[in-house]
């Protein structure tokens, strides 16, 4: 793989490029359709099912899986776990791209995307949790952008401004954690307004807490998952520090994730107990709920714990991928699958192929940009001019 990449830079007809090309072209067609014929032309949404895959996957999963940014930078800069330093930049970049793509996806989903700044600048609907989400995402995207700029400045050789931004690291990290806490949990709280529509096993007064806590292990798993992929495909862009620290980061995050997931299971249990929903567990929906909670939380948590105990990176990586899937399942359950559960089956929503295509298009776009940036800017390695022990870095 290592030298294959250098060739790939010159050769155009690689399988990767061909597949990406097809996806991007399809995406372009879908984009034109969406913006000339309306949302109805490409989606299966209707008046009973106003939110579908684009909110359930692109927004909810996108934001949860981009949580690696705040988790990693908080671990490194606030909790002082310096050994995670090499994981911070890739995590921040992924988070920034993740949020940027979420905003892009929203342009497809909302009816009048050019009015997306309205809730902040024109008419503030402060009683809406969506307002909170919008404001936080907007601010956090700004924070992530600033946090990302040092890499770009190093690439461009702008030392002075880079030093200035680096000085802001701690305050940016704290802002990041505050904003993430707010909007990660608000995404769950969005559904609290519809107790009559969301299945009681998923509807809970704890929804915001569930979303926030699960965003933590979603972020950690994503960092592990993404570093696994990066090691496989972008290894030649990594420096020794990155290589040396990566297993430690994976094991450290695996350990933390195992604990957080255990805690999450605990409050899930308390949630069921408080609402006294035990008997619902014996229904079909209950089985599905257990698949999510046992199959996609308890199981990977155990796998994480075992991986950590035996220092087995393979277990850890599988557990991370599995957890990522579990997060996707959970967010889709709440927004699409267990939402409107009471409707007769012919009134239920199933995403159209074009909706799925658009989501694939957006994810692919993210991968392409990630590759573009990591192969050029000091993300997976340190810029020679700015080693980790330069005075600026030492401050933080």
């Amino acid at each position: 793989m290592t030298d294959n990449g250098t060739h790939a830079d010159r050769k155009w007809w690689t399988p990767f490029n061909v597949i990406v090309g097809i996806i991007l072209a399809t995406g372009a067609v879908l984009t034109v359709m969406r913006f000339t014929q309306g949302i109805g032309a490409v989606t299966n949404l209707d008046n009973n099912n106003a939110w579908g895959l684009w909110i359930g996957f692109d927004l909810l999963c996108g934001v949860a899986l981009a949580a690696g940014g705040y988790v990693t930078s908080a671990a490194c800069y606030i909790f002082g776990l310096k050994r995670y330093h090499s994981a911070v930049r890739p995590a921040i970049l992924t988070a920034f791209l993740g949020y940027a793509l979420v905003v892009l996806a929203l342009h497809y989903d909302v009816g009048r995307p050019w009015r997306l700044p309205y809730p902040i600048f024109v008419s503030q609907g402060t009683s809406s949790l969506l307002f909170e989400v919008g404001l936080c995402v907007f601010l956090y995207l700004t924070v992530l952008f600033i946090e990302f700029t040092p890499a770009a400045f190093e690439w461009l050789g702008l030392k002075k401004i880079r030093a200035l931004v680096v000085k802001l690291t701690l305050i940016l990290t704290i802002f990041g954690v505050v904003l993430s806490t707010l909007h990660q949990s608000s995404l769950g709280a969005l559904f609290m307004i519809a107790p009559s529509k969301l299945h009681p096993l998923w509807y809970s007064g704890y929804l915001p807490v569930y979303f926030f806590i699960s965003s933590m292990f979603a972020g950690m798993s994503m960092v592990i998952f993404e570093s696994t992929l990066a090691h496989r495909y972008l290894s030649r862009h990594m420096d020794d520090t990155h290589h040396r620290e990566a297993p430690g980061v994976a094991l450290g995050f695996a350990k933390a994730a195992a604990f957080v997931m255990a805690g999450y299971l605990g409050i899930k249990l308390i949630g069921i107990a408080i609402d006294d929903h035990w008997r619902l567990l014996a229904t079909g929906w209950g089985m599905w709920y257990l698949v999510e909670v046992i199959g996609f939380v308890a199981f990977p948590a155990l796998l994480f714990a075992m991986g950590v105990r035996e220092k087995n990176l393979k277990f850890v990586r599988w557990a991370a991928a599995w957890t990522v899937l579990g997060i996707v399942l959970n967010r889709l359950n709440i927004s699409v699958i267990a939402f409107n559960y009471h409707l007769p089956s012919h009134e239920r929503y199933v995403p159209s192929l074009m909706e799925i295509g658009t989501s694939v298009f957006i994810v692919t776009l993210g991968i392409v940009i990630y590759r573009f940036i990591t192969t050029r800017m000091p993300i997976l390695h340190e810029h020679p001019d700015y080693s980790a022990h330069s005075p600026e870095q030492k401050r933080i």
Binding site: L45, V110, L116, S123, I174
Partner: protein
């Protein structure tokens, strides 16, 4: 940076204060007491037992709101065979509830006292007016459709096939007519009196009067009196409401109450988190410093120790060397003497020497 930081704090402030202000007229945020509705606001009472399914209300609604003509005319009652809901250009529908004796139910926006849709809208495009209607401002709507997710009665519809300016649509209670002092179109055209309008207080009193006067005709419940915190549209029925297709499990909590908890957590997070995190940072920093100091101390001690050890070793070595040197000298001396003695054959002299 200064400006954006100030703006940031300002926005956080707005975020924290907004819900607490609870301005009436907009959806109210953290409501801690029941909102009984605006005094004197208009309401409509739909007596299901009096509805004959003539669809006159539907046609009046189309006329008043200038909606596009439907595929089948309003005289065609066959559409009653299928279950319908409100649509982008259908603000109200009458459905037949399949039963032994046909029962007809009109559906439209219920104009909740504290509407879920308005509370959900993040640009305040939906508002409860003091006159009773919940109205929509197209100029503000972003088209996020959270209002549709939020409405417990599944009322708002969306123009999914408009690319440029799709709208959310729903019954307006004929707000412009109400402002002119007229009755809503559907009410005005209802031939049987199944729809009557008036202030909410009057209609509630009237509804309970009917229930008391004809207890065998009505179930003892005015739908909309308390559902979701109360609605401006009220219903009387002869069958339990669950049987005429209306949800009985909505509870009496208003929509803002459902989200008051998470909204009120915002100021706590904004206030508490930075303090906590700075604390954690300080602790980790201090831990690091102490660890660094301890490390340095340990290193110094180790260096000291090894210096001492080295000195001690040197000492012993020197001693050993000295001893060895001494014994070597002694040995050499002895050897020299022995050699000297061997060279000198005279025993007498040698004895003297000793």
């Amino acid at each position: 940076m200064g400006i954006s930081r100030r703006k940031f704090i300002g926005c956080l402030g707005a975020l924290a204060l907004g819900p607490a202000m609870g301005i009436p007229g907009t959806a109210r945020g953290a409501a801690n007491k029941e909102f009984a509705g605006w005094p004197g606001s208009q309401s409509v009472l739909h007596d299901i037992t009096k509805c004959i399914g003539c669809r006159k209300c539907e046609s009046a609604c189309h006329r008043v709101n200038q909606l596009p003509d439907p595929e089948t005319s309003f005289e065609d009652l066959k559409v009653l065979d299928q279950k319908r809901r409100t649509d982008a250009d259908v603000f109200t529908v009458v459905n037949r509830v399949d039963n032994t004796s046909p029962v007809f139910v009109k559906t439209q926006c219920n104009h909740c006292l504290e509407p879920a849709c308005a509370s959900a809208c993040f640009v305040k495009a939906l508002k409860k007016t003091p006159e009773g209607a919940v109205v929509y401002h197209e100029k503000l709507c972003v088209g996020c459709r959270y209002c549709m997710v939020a409405c417990p009665f599944n009322i708002p519809a969306y123009e999914y096939h408009k690319a440029l300016a799709p709208r959310v649509t729903k019954c307006t209670m004929c707000h412009p007519r109400i402002l002119e002092g007229k009755r809503p179109g559907c009410v005005a055209d209802c031939p049987t009196g199944a729809l009557i309008s008036g202030t909410r207080d009057e209609l509630l009193a009237h509804a309970w009067d009917r229930i008391r006067t004809y207890p065998e005709r009505y179930v003892s419940h005015v739908y909309g009196e308390h559902e979701m915190g109360g609605t401006s549209w009220l219903y009387l029925s002869g069958l339990p409401f669950g049987q005429v297709g209306m949800r009985e499990d909505l509870g009496t909590k208003s929509a803002p109450e459902l989200t008051a908890g998470p909204l009120s957590a915002v100021p706590i997070v904004v206030g508490l988190w930075p303090v906590l995190l700075t604390g954690v940072y300080a602790i980790s920093k201090r831990k690091e410093k102490i660890a660094e100091q301890e490390k340095q101390a340990a290193v110094a001690e180790a260096v000291d120790q090894s210096k001492k050890e080295a000195q001690a070793r040197m000492e012993t070595l020197r001693k050993k060397w000295d001893q060895e040197k001494q014994s070597a000298i002694n040995f050499e001396v002895k050897k020299a003497l022995e050699e000297a003695a061997a060279k000198d054959p005279e025993p007498g002299q040698s004895k003297e020497d000793e």
